[in-house]
């Protein structure tokens, strides 16, 4: 008897939690097909008529085509730079002994604990101004590149778990370091690279504060997160609830798609964060 009531209790808890966590997402998705009036006046859960025009309007008139394009460029760019920079460094630190190696590891792990918040962006912005990159896509991609942190440590731990005999054998055969790195280590790292790549992509796609600060005077460079939050602060006066929800869904859709396709990697990347 207690067994059955225990099971009922368990499942009630599991299902209610699942419903509460899904509710905001569902409300956003259903709302994105409603008219502004329907949203403000309150109506049934499902839209009366599915307003596909919302998406067309948001895409064209509210400039989301520009925002999405910018987001794609930043995310793809930052993913490539992050993975490249971190895998190069992780390989050297994991496989070579050189003066300063310990220091580097120490500094990189210390940096994970020192956070100056948004202050970091002020001097970084000045550096970009000096380099003439503060009004460019490239500047933003560089700023979004994670050079150390979790990505570095996950790759570092992964490369250390690869048998050393492989690259030693190649070295005896006269292979250069870069050859070993690109032809032996990187292919063996593929699963880890996928995981940190996804990590970097999610980070860049969802990033808000950094592009907000960097594109304040350049609306044409804004990614979707910044563009959407701007509607929240008024877009032509009246609150356009339906546009906000449609915009939010346009931002959520690619992540959702990736999540469904690569669920395992998403799970691994978070676990790697505590094991790495």
């Amino acid at each position: 008897m207690t067994r059955i009531s225990g099971r009922i209790l368990t499942w009630t808890f599991l299902l209610i939690t699942a419903a509460l966590l899904l509710l905001p997402i569902a409300l956003a998705m259903l709302g994105s097909f409603k008219t502004n009036q329907e949203l403000n006046a309150g109506s049934a859960l499902l839209p009366k008529v599915w307003q596909l025009e919302n998406y067309l309007y948001t895409w064209k008139e509210a400039k989301f085509s520009v925002y999405v394009w910018n987001s794609v460029i930043y995310s793809v760019g930052a993913t490539i730079t992050t993975v490249t920079v971190c895998s190069l460094a992780a390989y050297a630190v994991a496989r070579r002994s050189f003066p300063g190696r310990k220091l580097l590891l120490g500094v990189y792990s210390a940096m994970m604990f020192i956070h100056m918040g948004v202050l970091t962006l002020k001097p970084a912005y000045q550096i970009m101004v000096t380099l003439g990159l503060h009004k460019s896509v490239l500047g933003l991609i560089i700023m979004m590149t994670g050079a150390g942190g979790t990505t570095f440590f996950i790759l570092y731990a992964f490369i250390r778990s690869i048998s050393k005999e492989l690259d030693e054998a190649a070295m005896i055969d006269g292979a250069s370091s870069f050859y070993i790195f690109s032809r032996i280590i990187l292919p063996l790292c593929a699963p880890a690279l996928g995981v940190v790549g996804l990590f970097a992509f999610r980070g860049a796609w969802n990033n808000y504060i950094l592009p907000l600060v960097f594109t304040m005077s350049q609306p044409e460079l804004q990614p979707i997160t910044v563009g959407l939050a701007n509607i929240r602060y008024g877009f032509g006066g009246a609150v356009q609830s339906h546009l906000m929800l449609t915009g939010a869904c346009i931002s959520m859709l690619p992540m959702l798609l990736m999540y469904i396709l690569a669920n395992k990697s998403f799970v691994q990347m978070n676990v790697g964060a505590i094991k790495g």
């Binding site: 368990t10 599991l14 699942a18 966590l21 905001p24 997402i25 409300l27 709302g31 949203l39 403000n40 309150g42 920079v85 971190c86 190069l88 390989y91 050297a92 070579r96 050189f98 003066p99 190696r101 500094v107 940096m111 020192i114 956070h115 100056m116 948004v118 202050l119 970091t120 002020k122 001097p123 970084a124 550096i127 590149t145 050079a147 150390g148 570095f152 808000y208 504060i209 600060v213 304040m216 939050a229 509607i231 929240r232 602060y233 609830s241 906000m244 929800l245 915009g247 939010a248 931002s251 959520m252 992540m255 999540y259 669920n263 799970v267 978070n270 676990v271 964060a273 505590i274 094991k275």
Partner: protein
């Protein structure tokens, strides 16, 4: 000898991009703030040396200490709401359960979306006037609630933070639970230990080290988060949800929020230092205390 240095040079070549980025975007800003906290610098014109002025000002700034207090309320609220639920979910999903992978996928889903984007969605949900949640409450015959007023705004922010955090901590707990050997549970079961007994006598102690890391991550991220609050309430109404890192943002980039606050980089640097120190001391204290407690109990 030459070969050795050639090898070193090669290694340096590999780490160079990472080191350049870390130095310019990670270490240099810290040194920059260490310098400007002693200057009177408003972001334009010349920076004038101001001695300890900014640091003295920290102690007189009641608004800052209110924000720090709000941050503690927010962080403890978030952790109290998030961690027990996440742990319970993890324990349940760790057992034999039909639909385990699907449920795990659902619980983790909120964490893949942008905090800022979800804050926009939550703004429409919790909006007092014709917000989606109040519409639902009306439909089932309950009175509408002013979710974003002085009294409730902080609680609403905590709920939203918990919504985004539960899945993440559930996964971290699950990873820890999977490290506990199954036969420990089996022998406990043979000895007649009930579910609750097994939880307190096996799960919690054996989760020990992982639990410490998770707690530390939770403390740090809760104290440092402000993105969702910034988009949802902007710290309002009248500072009710002003958290410390949001205040720092307003000191450094006052243009975007429409705030009346004036940009003050010298003082902002001092505030940033204080905040880094606060988070550092609290996580350090936590690690120290948990180690002490471990020594007592083992």
């Amino acid at each position: 000898m030459i070969q050795k240095w050639k090898n070193h040079a090669e290694a340096y070549l590999f780490v160079t991009p990472s080191v350049i980025l870390t130095v310019t975007l990670g270490i240099y800003p810290i040194l920059w703030a260490l310098r400007y906290m002693f200057y009177d610098y408003k972001g334009y014109g010349e920076a004038k040396f101001a001695g300890l002025y900014n640091i003295k000002r920290l102690f007189r700034d009641d608004y800052l200490w209110d924000a720090i207090w709000n941050t503690f309320v927010f962080a403890s609220g978030k952790m109290i709401l998030t961690l027990p639920v996440a742990l319970l979910l993890a324990v349940l999903l760790n057992g034999k359960l039909r639909g385990r992978n699907l449920l795990r996928g659902i619980y983790f889903m909120p964490t893949i979306f942008s905090t800022a984007v979800m804050a926009v969605v939550f703004y429409l949900i919790f909006n007092s006037y014709n917000g989606l949640l109040n519409q639902i409450l009306n439909m089932i015959g309950l009175p509408a609630v002013e979710w974003l007023n002085m009294q409730n705004a902080m609680l609403t922010c905590i709920i939203i933070a918990a919504w985004g955090g539960i899945g993440n901590y559930m996964l971290l707990f699950l990873a820890g639970l999977q490290g506990i050997p199954k036969d420990v549970y089996e022998s406990a079961e043979l000895d007649g230990a009930t579910g609750a007994r097994r939880f307190w006598s096996i799960t919690i102690p054996m989760l020990g080290p992982v639990l410490n890391i998770i707690m530390m991550l939770a403390i740090m991220s809760a104290l440092e988060s402000y993105e969702a609050i910034m988009v949802l309430t902007g710290g309002g109404p009248s500072g009710a949800t002003e958290v410390m890192h949001l205040y720092l943002y307003k000191l450094l980039f006052p243009v975007s929020t429409g705030e009346t606050m004036a940009q003050d980089i010298g003082y902002g640097s001092a505030v940033a230092m204080l905040l880094a120190l606060i988070v550092g001391v609290i996580t350090g204290l936590y690690l120290y205390l948990s180690r002490k407690l471990n020594d007592i109990y083992s």
